[in-house]
């Protein structure tokens, strides 16, 4: 088997053109920067910065949110790397990519609760719905752009790439939403805010599977 079969040659020739190699996953993840900034600033700018921001201090407030946005970028870069053939993550690494954002969100939640414990007494469900839907909606532009970037590569496991980009976008959106929602009660944050991350993850998973179909 050394010569190219005639049929294959003609098919390749018909589609032949110069291509530019994809930039690195990091460089492509940076294309999401404008939407990431939007996700971080939308809720505090549109509604208000949380009333207990002074008690949290800069590090506990914006500092923790910037950390979450940075982690979101890392996760989107991981998804973009996953979508390149031969550079897929191992099962252990994927496990870590799922554990790290959960652990960071829990740590930020507990630290905020420690610094400024605000209970949610009345209208629990209303606030819960506002937080989960607002957080998920804020993540959607990042999910959409990152989904297109994943599909422009060659995702051999689009479900995993989509899950990673969805979690990344969700963590970015939560970074902004937590700067508006002052209810630091862990039951609320871990269900509604982390729920928003889960919704974004499902959206990313679904989008990557749909857009990655031509390669399956």
């Amino acid at each position: 088997m050394t010569g190219v079969p005639a049929e294959l040659r003609s098919r390749i020739q018909a589609e032949f053109a110069v291509v530019r190699p994809l930039p690195s996953p990091w460089a492509r993840a940076l294309w999401c920067a404008p939407f990431a900034a939007l996700a971080l600033l939308a809720a505090p700018a549109f509604f208000n910065v949380r009333t207990d921001a002074g008690q949290l201090g800069w590090l506990g407030g914006w500092g923790a949110s910037f950390l979450q946005v940075a982690l979101g970028f890392v996760l989107i870069a991981a998804a973009l790397r996953e979508s390149v053939p031969g550079r897929s993550w191992s099962a252990g690494a994927i496990g870590l990519w799922l554990v790290i954002p959960t652990a960071l969100t829990m740590a930020v939640t507990l630290a905020s609760w420690e610094a400024s414990p605000v209970m949610l007494r009345r209208g629990w469900w209303t606030v819960w719905l506002v937080c989960i839907s607002g957080s998920a909606a804020t993540a959607l532009p990042v999910v959409a752009l990152a989904g297109v970037l994943v599909a422009r590569a060659y995702p051999t496991r689009p479900a995993i790439a989509g899950l990673l980009l969805g979690i990344g976008a969700g963590v970015m959106a939560d970074a902004g939403w937590r700067m508006f929602c002052h209810f630091s009660e862990p039951a609320h944050v871990l269900s509604a805010h982390l729920g928003g991350v889960a919704v974004a993850a499902i959206a990313g998973w679904r989008l990557a599977i749909t857009l990655g179909k031509p390669f399956r």
Partner: protein
């Protein structure tokens, strides 16, 4: 097989539009991919089909190759993907014409002058399953290549390739039987 430095050079030339680089790349890695695919499917004709499909996919994904990394893990990942998709397609396919001897083949009048119905059935039975399916779906059931591609989960070009190779094999088999 060429060493990794040569393969990277070939990939770089291929990406920058030098078509001859594809010939060299094919000569260098097709045997390795075929061995890999054959170890999974254990059917030489099927492995050949999958090699063609792998190169089609590799061509479409060539922009994802980063010259800073080795070529083989990239190419093998695509080959593995092609093989897994083929296996998934086979498991989902509503029917696979394995036994064509019982099929009612509507051999048209002009075709009858080339071969007897029974000869065609017998010869079809010797065509590789994936090619046979494409031949029957296109030439017997009248499906377009687009429809075959959608049904079987492969690219339209791969469906054309399978059908054309299946027909070549069928013609050769019928000539071999002296039924022309």
């Amino acid at each position: 097989m060429a060493d990794d430095t040569q393969l990277r050079e070939l990939m770089r030339a291929y990406q920058s539009g030098r078509f001859e680089a594809f010939d060299d790349l094919y000569a260098a890695i097709a045997p390795v991919l075929r061995r890999y695919l054959l170890s999974h499917v254990r059917d030489a004709a099927k492995a050949d089909d999958l090699v063609q499909e792998t190169f089609l996919q590799l061509h479409r994904a060539r922009h994802t190759y980063d010259p800073a990394y080795p070529v083989m893990p990239w190419a093998m990942a695509i080959a593995r993907h092609v093989q897994l998709m083929d296996r998934r397609t086979l498991s989902r396919r509503p029917w696979a014409p394995d036994d064509v001897t019982e099929m009612d083949l509507p051999v048209r009048g002009e075709a009858a002058s080339y071969a007897e119905r029974s000869d065609v059935r017998r010869a079809l039975g010797h065509v590789a399953p994936s090619r046979r399916a494409a031949v029957i779906q296109h030439h017997v059931l009248g499906l377009s290549f687009k429809e075959i591609a959608a049904r079987t989960g492969i690219a339209e070009t791969a469906a054309k390739l399978r059908s054309s190779r299946g027909m070549s094999q069928l013609r050769a088999l019928l000539k071999g039987h002296g039924t022309k």
